[in-house]
């Protein structure tokens, strides 16, 4: 945290570095006015550049490595064990998509907890990225009548079916559009990611998301050192601070290495499918070709990459 010119470290914690947001805004307003005056007067070009944010440049690979290294050291120290922070880039010619077989899902919530285990969500206050909705067979898919708090001794219940919902990784994501600071965006492989060091915690994205897929860290996330998954990705499951939003990333640290997401592998009925949309021979392409698929809230034009289907 010593290098104050890093874009990633502008949320400094030190007492000297701490700038009150209000005074920053007021100061910004004043300098903006000054800039206009200065431009009109035809003076200092460096100042104008600064106002147009030209001074922000892309991080060099060396600087990026330094930042990741600093994060690794910080987390390792905090949790008393070795933590790695990767920034594995998207693969060429890969666009991820997800399939979920509603005819198979038994609502056992193994995926919910496997996700927490894999992605270092806070244990208490609790954050779950996957929410399994129980619906009446008689009524069909009726989100308003569904419940996530079902707790029978055994599942599946004879009169119910289950619809797990997590981030739908939309092609047209409302959450990305509303972010005032561009802390969330869509990667070339289709994953919508959040930079938790850039997120200001305004929660606009949470209210924009029609799937309730984004979650807020209301207080310091708690994960014990033994429970921490030390294999992390900068845009994914690295430990999050208080006051930022988080969400499913298709297990970015796994899938960019070729692995299936954790929820796919834990599912005891094999209802969860994952693959590359651009590969003709992938499971996802077979599924889209052969099965009746649908997406949630199609009428909102979010164009999810998450497909629900009914296998025979």
């Amino acid at each position: 945290m010593s290098d104050s010119d890093s874009a990633l470290e502008t949320r400094g914690d030190g007492p000297e570095e701490k700038v009150d947001r209000r005074s920053l805004l007021i100061g910004g307003g004043l300098t903006a006015m000054a800039a206009v005056a200065a431009t009109v007067a035809g003076s200092s070009t460096g100042f104008v550049e600064r106002m147009l944010r030209r001074r922000f440049t892309e991080l060099s690979p060396e600087r990026k490595a330094e930042i990741l290294d600093a994060l690794e050291r910080e987390y390792s120290e905090r949790y008393g064990r070795e933590v790695t922070v990767a920034d594995t880039p998207p693969m060429d010619g890969v666009e991820f998509a997800y399939g979920l077989d509603i005819a198979r899902c038994v609502g056992c919530r193994r995926c919910v907890y496997a996700c927490v285990h894999e992605n270092n969500q806070s244990r208490d206050p609790q954050i779950h990225w996957i929410r399994v909705l129980r619906m009446e067979k008689e009524r069909g898919i009726e989100l308003a009548e569904s419940t996530a708090y079902y707790e029978p001794p055994e599942v599946p219940e004879p009169d119910a079916f289950y619809l797990p919902v997590a981030c739908q990784q939309c092609r047209n994501p409302a959450c990305v559009k509303v972010c005032p600071v561009k802390a969330t965006w869509q990667e070339p492989d289709g994953i919508v990611v959040i930079d938790s060091d850039w997120c200001i915690g305004c929660r606009c994205c949470m209210s924009a998301c029609p799937y309730g897929a984004r979650h807020f860290n209301w207080s310091e996330p708690t994960i014990s050192s033994e429970e921490l998954n030390p294999n992390t990705h900068y845009l994914g499951n690295r430990p999050r601070p208080t006051g930022v939003v988080e969400k499913c990333t298709f297990c970015i640290h796994r899938t960019r290495e070729g692995r299936y997401p954790a929820c796919v592998e834990i599912c005891p009925v094999g209802a969860r499918k994952f693959g590359n949309l651009l590969d003709e021979n992938s499971e996802m392409r077979y599924l889209l070709r052969e099965k009746r698929v649908f997406v949630l809230k199609e009428e909102l034009n979010t164009q999810p990459r998450f497909y629900y289907f009914y296998a025979t």
Partner: protein, 235 residues
């Protein structure tokens, strides 16, 4: 004028229906009890109408379920083959037979006479309850009477237990096709490379194939039971 005149005459009627003092008292009682209720529920840390035994009041962690293996290890073959573009190797783990201790079947059956009679088994295998399609299903629809270490397809072909999917696929053609493509059943490994399949019998008991119900893990914490708000307040 007519209307103005009528008003004083109607007033006693109204008074009789709802006497002023007592109606005020009733309103006061209702108001006080309602506000007490609200206050009480807020003090308890909840506002929704949630029964005390309803789910979603306690936060669980994956570590609370040691019986479930969340750190799933890949098969060694899959791990070694790793992710790759076109060389997708599919490997089937050895079948976990329900009768592992009994296998090979010929240890006992080689010495025995073959009894093709359909009957209630008494001395051995009496725990097997056939609940698989039509009532007249019988052992030798699938098992081979002449050599019990193999299974027999409808056309007489003998196959090993590790190829049992061919037997199941005779009837369950569409599901067999989905399974072969990776749509039916669990797969583990690399979406772009090596992965492991499971056999039908890993998840379905061939004698009673319907998937058995399991206990669900607990529901999420309801918003009114999250502890976060207090902690933020403390800071």
């Amino acid at each position: 004028m007519d209307e103005l005149d009528r008003q004083p005459r109607e007033k006693p009627d109204g008074d009789r229906l709802l006497p002023g003092a007592s109606s005020l008292a009733v309103l006061l009682i209702v108001f006080v009890s309602l506000s007490l209720l609200v206050l009480f529920s807020i003090m308890r840390g909840g506002v929704g109408h949630v029964a005390s035994d309803a789910g979603g009041t306690k936060a669980y962690s994956p570590a609370d379920f040691p019986e479930i293996n969340f750190d799933r290890q890949l098969l060694e073959e899959v791990e070694n083959a790793g992710p790759s573009g076109d060389d997708a190797t599919f490997r089937v783990p050895p079948p976990s037979l329900a009768y592992e201790d009994f296998f090979p079947c010929s240890d006992c059956h080689a010495e025995m006479d073959v009894n093709l009679e359909r009957r209630q088994l008494e001395e051995m295998h009496d725990d097997i309850e056939l609940d698989h399609g039509p009532k007249d299903r019988w052992c030798f629809d699938c098992h081979n009477p002449d050599d019990r270490d193999s299974l027999r397809l409808a056309n007489g072909t003998l196959i090993g237990f590790d190829e049992s999917y061919r037997l199941c696929g005779q009837c369950h053609g569409t599901i067999f096709r989905d399974w072969r493509e990776g749509i039916h059943g669990r797969r583990e490994g690399y979406w772009n490379g090596a992965k492991s399949y499971q056999l039908c019998a890993h998840c379905h008991n061939p004698h009673a194939p319907r998937f058995q119900p399991i206990a669900p893990l607990p529901p999420p914490v309801r918003p009114q039971f999250l502890h976060a708000a207090e902690e933020v307040h403390d800071e």
